[in-house]
Amino acid sequence: MNRLLFLLVAVSSAQVTYDHLLKADPKDWLTYQGAYDAKRHSLLKQIDTSNVRNLSAAWIYSIPGASRLESVPVVVDGVLYISQPNEVYALDGRSGRVIWEYRHQPALRKGPNRGVAVYGNKVYVGTPDAHLVALDARTGGLVWKAKLAEARDGYWSPAAPLAIKGKIIAGIAPGDHGLNGFLDAYDAETGERLWRWHAIPKPGEPGNETWAGDSWKTGGGDTWLTGSYDPALNLLYWGIGNPAPDFDGDVRKGDNLYTESMVALDADTGKLKWHFQFTPHDVHDWDAVEIPVLVDAPVNGETRKLLVQANRNGFYYVLDRTNGKFLHGSPFIKQMNWASGLTPEGRPIRVPGVEPSIQGTRTCPATSGATNWHSPAYSPETGLFYVSMMEGCGINYKSRDTFRPGGVSFMATGYVEDPEAPWQTYVRALELTTGKIRWEYRQVGSKRYGAGLLSTAGGLIFAGDDQGVFTALDAKTGKALWHFNTGRQITASPITYSYKGKQYIALAAGSNVVAFALQQ
């Protein structure tokens, strides 16, 4: 009897508290980005530049029916939680053995899914039928589900949710169908919705004047990638997606707020504190959802609270995250033809004529972007911001499209790779506040990005490519120190954790989850 009582007490204590999330013990990987500041820099250093050559595969788990996973594992006390659309798996982080799996119904065929959140004793995941689902972290049992939006309207939820202070923050997709975006907060215990922030302002609200006529009604602006959070300022930072129709700006004249913006929301109320729009009136589908990385660093001799982002439009931005003020911006790509620079306020100076046309217009970077969903990293030890990115151009076309409800593409046509200039991916290291390129690593033969980066206190940057090669680079020089052929295109970001004194590096590659550790 006494023994049973002990067990009951043990299981009712929460695994992951807000304090845990604030502290972000490096043995765990507790959020999509590892920590609220999204630096993706781990203090683990068992694996370092001197011994990384001895890194070997520890285990592989093949997710049934998966194709190209974009999910990033979350790890709590050695248990690794990873998702694919409609499914979540709990794996033993030491052996790769499955502990439980959850299958969501109805299983709509929409993807990808980019990961889960953990809070208390629950695991949270967004679903293709636009729900937020809470599972028991120990069993995979369904605890509650909350409807984000109507799946029959075409909405779905690919982003990993973010857990803060008893709330689960969840975003929505897709703006490309003319469905307006929002960001939601739910009570972590009950699933009750606490607030909703609408990405497209309604008539009478500030920002609605940036949409001609009724174009705001199908304006898009979705929230399909996880943001970051500053606990001291209590601000959530979230990148907002593209306006719709994507390639035809004539029918939505104006700046089209808050598409292509970084927004800072009060985490308690969901109220907008500030915004910064990277690409006003975008016509190239350059979603500004890329990860906002929070760093405190000196600018002109004064330590500032910064938010930095490598944007899909090709510019690297440094903002003051207390107020959204633009501090610096410069291209991190060499092939850029749509803007000649940025104004002192950070607004792009457009090159006339570089916009989609019926004939097709050469546009650099391509619509797929200089970078995209895969995560960058920042190392406080080198002071460098690392980005996995692509050089290349597209030919962009436009036409006239009509909004159709029910989740029908509302893009007004699209783009192709420029046949004259094949795409090429790189890892580039930028100086934090100047954006100057310190080194680059060309991924020979790779043209499709998708593999994010991990920085570790071992002086390493882990990177992947579209050929399935997973590589450890020297964070200071970009020199390749180790590599492993995972065999499948990598379109997810790596993580690290430790269990019983052993450091692991793990990532999804194709349909597999692969973990590495030093050979005994």
Partner: protein, 246 residues
């Protein structure tokens, strides 16, 4: 032959006939904006380019020609429905694999001869087990590519050698010089098919130097080096290489 197969063959023949008549109608009504053979015009999109199309179904294409596209320069056509359908068949044939489109004019057998002799195509290209290996196997090329693509391949300079066919010269640490085409590479290894037809598997740290030739080995002026008849026959031959769709 079962009834379904007969019906499909009959409908394929009808499609080919419609597409051919559609081509004539298209060149009367559509080229001003959309260009010759769907390449590109001054005011309308290329209808047979490498891009995503908003309208791909028979119905969508029919509707946009019959009723025009609101908000654009595309007008409603005064042609009778039967003629509009023929134009639709032609546009769809532009986007389809060569084998599914109406046969091009020309003599297939004479085209085979050009392929084997004056064209010297077989030096590099395999055809049903006969030929070279430096270029792609063409045994079913008409199933994989459109006639327009094949015409471009024979007549237009290529800005880059295609993946898997880039000529390289490299020197190993032992001083061996290897010439061939690069089948694949990444930061740590290279796979090269050398001039002797041998696959060479190399780690990057085993080579001292590598020179990439941007120029494809594929000649690009067959419309000038062959007579018009020879070129027509070669196109006729190439666009029949593959199993007929059943």
């Amino acid at each position: 032959m079962d009834r379904l197969t007969v019906a499909m063959l009959v409908s394929a023949a009808a499609f080919a006939q419609d597409a051919e008549e559609g081509r004539v109608l298209y060149h009367r009504a559509c080229t001003a904006c959309h260009g010759q053979d769907g390449t590109a015009g001054d005011r309308g999109p290329a209808l047979a380019a490498r891009r995503r199309y908003l309208r791909t179904t028979e119905k969508d294409l029919f509707d946009s020609i019959k009723h025009g596209i609101a908000g654009t320069l595309m007008p409603a056509s005064p042609l009778p429905d039967a003629d509009v359908r023929k134009i639709v068949a032609y546009i769809r044939s532009l986007r389809s694999a060569a084998i599914d489109a109406p046969p091009l004019p020309g003599n297939v057998e004479r085209g085979r001869e050009v392929f084997q002799t004056k064209g010297r195509c077989q030096t590099c290209h395999m055809l049903n087990g006969q030929g070279g290996i430096l270029g792609p196997d063409l045994s079913s090329i008409a199933q994989e590519r459109s006639a327009a693509f094949l015409r471009d391949a024979l007549t237009k300079p290529k800005p880059h050698a295609p993946l898997g066919y880039q000529p390289v010269t490299l020197v190993t640490n032992d001083g061996e010089r290897i010439r061939g085409v690069l089948k694949n590479e990444h930061n740590f290894s290279l796979q090269v098919l050398d001039e002797a037809g041998k696959l060479r598997l190399l780690a990057r740290d085993e080579i001292r130097g590598i020179e990439y030739s941007e120029q494809s080995l594929m000649p690009s002026a067959y419309d000038r080096t062959l007579s018009p008849d020879e070129f027509r026959d070669l196109m006729s031959f190439l666009t029949r290489q593959g199993r007929q769709t059943r």
